[in-house]
Structure formats: structure tokens, C-alpha cells
């Protein structure tokens, strides 16, 4: 019953996205895709989130924010990079202020490519993340023992 994957709550953060992926993330909540049927809630609060969903590459301003949000999430937690910018830095990779993908700052568990990433692939990515989440929870429990 206490499987994390039955009620994954997510936190959506826009690191430097053009808003294309953000809109697709919000699409997932709409009646057509209805991500809540998996028990997923968009919490907007790192203290209550299990999945950190980041769109856009990391720039020098958002770097500390991403790190802090990650640190404020309780274990077990996973990070999903949504969109090609979040995965690798995308077309902005060479910009003077862009550090690159999310994985340059915090460990990323699932990469969802696309520009913008389609809602179906975002949901697919989240579902993959849930498996990682369950594994992490198992590992955490064994750790405690």
C-alpha cells in the first residue's frame, strides 16, 4: 500500500524554458490527458513532492534554485528532465549564460526529449520515473535496515 508510485506528487520547475514544454506539462492535467487518474498531483511545493519535473536548460540564475529545490525534497525522489533543453541544453547549449542540461547540476533519472515534449511522452516519462522511484524506495528501506 505504501508504494510511492501509487501517489507520486510532482513539482514543476521552469529552469529557463521557452514555455513550450511548460504548456505541454500543464496539458497533462487537462481532461484529455488527466494525469490525476494515476494519483499524480501538481503540488507546487518541494516539501511535498516526489518528482521534480524540470523544463529548460539550467542557466546561471536558476542553478542555485534547482539545487535548493532538490535539497528541499524528502527522499525518495526522482528528477525528470522534460524537453531537449532540459536534457542537454538544446539549441541554447552554447549560450553564454547556459550551463547545459539539468544533469550538470543535479542527478537526472529520466530524460524526456522533444521540442516541445508531447504530453504523451511526458506521461510516459513520469511513468518510467515511477519505477525508478519504487526502486529508490526499496533501496532506502534496505538502507534503514
Amino acid at each position: 500500500m505504501n508504494k510511492v508510485s501509487k501517489s507520486p506528487w510532482l513539482l514543476h520547475y521552469d529552469a529557463s524554458s521557452c514555455n513550450g514544454c511548460d504548456i505541454e506539462v500543464l496539458d497533462c492535467l487537462t481532461p484529455k490527458y488527466d494525469i490525476e487518474r494515476f494519483g499524480i498531483i501538481n503540488t507546487g511545493d518541494p516539501f511535498q513532492a516526489d518528482i521534480l519535473l524540470i523544463t529548460g536548460g539550467v542557466n546561471s540564475q536558476t542553478e542555485r534554485v534547482v539545487k535548493q529545490l532538490y535539497s528541499q525534497m524528502p527522499e525518495p525522489k526522482v528528477v525528470v528532465a522534460v524537453g531537449i533543453c532540459a536534457c542537454t541544453g538544446g539549441i541554447f547549449k552554447e549560450c553564454y549564460n547556459i550551463k547545459g542540461g539539468i544533469d550538470t547540476v543535479i542527478p537526472v533519472d529520466v530524460y524526456v526529449p522533444g521540442c516541445a515534449a508531447r504530453p504523451e511522452s511526458i506521461i510516459d516519462g513520469v511513468m518510467k520515473a515511477l519505477k525508478v522511484l519504487d526502486e529508490k524506495q526499496k533501496a532506502m528501506k534496505e538502507d534503514r535496515r
Partner: protein, 286 residues
């Protein structure tokens, strides 16, 4: 008999509350043409929250949160034991105080804003709550819940105004739109988590369980309006509670969050018009 009620409340209120919450989420989803989560989703959530690591921003918040839960349980136990209604309501507000303390103990901007709004909400619903106790006292001649449920006719006949007023202000307690200023169940509000911002894992689970206890407690008060000495009045009360709960869900889905001024003034005016007039009439005819 009364002790059975209390034990039943303490054991099953979270279950009932959780199921109601699940139903609420499904109904809301259907109203928005979505499928919605499973009815057991609240329990999955609780299980997950308890399994998570406890992180906190200070050392007292968890303590105050636990106190909130336990004092709420005591308030509910008193109601279901058939004790004094007014005292129950006083303890209920004391419990809420602990929640406010828990939120403001961490000096965080969002939790603090939530706590301030929660205080304002308390100020908005408190007058009507007291008037309800007064109404029962006038209608049935006692503050004792055990006397109220033994009355020959249902209290709703004497106090329809108070019932309507209570439905209006109960939206605050149930944290339903348009009155979910301090913390909300939906992500589309201008301040989403507010008072619970700094609560994570087990702390949030405790907060949720407390909410379930509170929900059942409130429905208990709603059913007091209907229950009389006949057996079928209990069935009426249960149906009525269901209808009230549905109405609150509907209201939640069709209205947007209001500003604090509209909240305070509208609650006070409804209290005065629906509750005050009802009390005045009761005083004149009783």
C-alpha cells in the same frame, strides 16, 4: 453506547474521511469531464507520506502538528460522546490554534501568509459556530449533544437559517473554494499550499488525518440538525450529510477563490442575516 460511538469515531473517522475525500476527488474529476483517481487514492497518499523521510525546518513544528491532531480527536470524541456542544466547538478552535502555531513557527513567508489567512478564516466562521450552539440551546434547551439527539422533533425545523449559514461557513472549514484561502487542494490557486508549505512526509500525513477527523466532526454537527428520537431520523441525517457534502463539492468546482475581505464580510453578513434572524425568532417564540 456512547463509548462505542467514541471508539468508532476514533477508529473509523480517518477511514470515512479518506473515503469521502476520494469520492470528492472523483466527483470533482467527473464534473471537469476527467476520470479522476481511484477512490482509495487518499490512502495511497497517506501510505506514501508516512514512508517518506521526515524533513523539517525546525524542531517544534512536528510537535504542534501532532497536538493539532490529538486535540481535534478529543473535540470529535466529545461530540460523539454526547457532551457539551459549546465546549466541543471551543476545543475545535483551540485545535485550529495549534495548526496556526505550527505554520507560523517556521517563519516562512508562505506558511506565514497561510497562517494569517487561517486566523482571518477563524474570525469569519467563529460567530456562526457559536450561534449554532446557541440555536441548539434555544431549540432543545440544552447544550448537551445527548439531549439534542433525544429531542422529539428535528432541530432543522427550528433553525433552518442556521443550517444554511453553517453550510456557507463550512466551506471554510472543509477548505473548499471560494473560501480555501489558507491552503488549497487544487494547484490553480494564487497561493497553493499556504499553511502546509513547510510540512512534508509524515507531518503532512498527520495534517491530512486531522482534516479527515475534522470532516467527520463537521458532518456530525450537520447531522445534529436532523437527528431526533426516532430511528429513521438517523437515515435522514446520513442522506442529508451526503447532500451537504455533494453541495460543498459542487460549490468548490463552480466558484473561484475570493479575496479575504469578501470572505470576512460575506461570512459575517450571512451569520447576521441567516443566523442572527434565526436566533431572534427562536428567542421570541421559545
Amino acid at each position: 453506547m456512547n463509548v462505542c460511538f467514541v471508539i468508532a469515531y476514533l477508529l473509523f473517522a480517518p477511514l470515512l474521511g479518506g473515503l469521502l475525500d476520494g469520492t470528492d476527488r472523483i466527483i470533482s474529476a467527473r464534473m471537469q469531464r476527467r476520470k479522476g483517481p481511484s477512490i482509495l487514492q487518499p490512502f495511497y497518499d497517506l501510505g506514501k507520506l508516512f514512508s517518506k523521510e521526515l524533513i523539517a525546518v525546525n524542531n517544534v513544528q512536528f510537535l504542534l502538528n501532532l497536538s493539532y491532531l490529538v486535540i481535534l480527536m478529543i473535540a470529535g470524541a466529545l461530540l460523539f460522546f454526547g457532551a457539551d456542544l459549546l465546549m466541543t466547538l471551543f476545543i475545535l478552535s483551540t485545535a485550529d490554534m495549534f495548526l496556526i502555531m505550527a505554520a507560523s513557527s517556521d517563519s516562512s513567508p508562505y506558511a506565514n501568509m497561510g497562517a494569517s489567512r487561517e486566523m482571518l478564516q477563524m474570525m469569519a466562521y467563529e460567530p456562526l459556530t457559536l450561534l449554532i450552539a446557541v440555536g441548539f440551546y434555544l431549540a432543545e434547551g440544552s447544550f448537551q449533544v445527548s439531549d439534542i439527539i433525544d429531542a422529539p422533533v428535528s432541530a432543522i425545523l427550528w433553525m433552518p437559517g442556521l443550517f444554511v449559514g453553517f453550510m456557507y461557513t463550512a466551506a471554510i472549514k472543509l477548505r473548499k473554494s471560494p473560501f480555501d484561502l489558507s491552503t488549497s487542494h487544487h494547484a490553480h490557486q494564487e497561493m497553493v499550499k499556504g499553511i502546509t508549505t513547510e510540512m512534508s512526509g509524515p507531518a503532512l500525513a498527520i495534517m491530512n488525518i486531522a482534516e479527515y477527523y475534522e470532516l467527520v466532526l463537521l458532518l456530525g454537527i450537520f447531522s445534529l440538525f436532523f437527528i431526533n428520537s426516532t430511528w429513521w431520523s438517523w437515515i435522514v441525517a446520513i442522506i442529508a450529510c451526503g447532500l451537504v457534502f455533494f453541495a460543498e463539492t459542487l460549490w468548490d468546482n463552480v466558484s473561484a477563490r475570493v479575496k479575504w475581505k469578501s470572505l470576512l464580510y460575506s461570512c459575517w453578513i450571512v451569520t447576521l442575516v441567516a443566523g442572527g434572524v434565526n436566533i431572534l425568532i427562536l428567542m421570541l417564540i421559545k
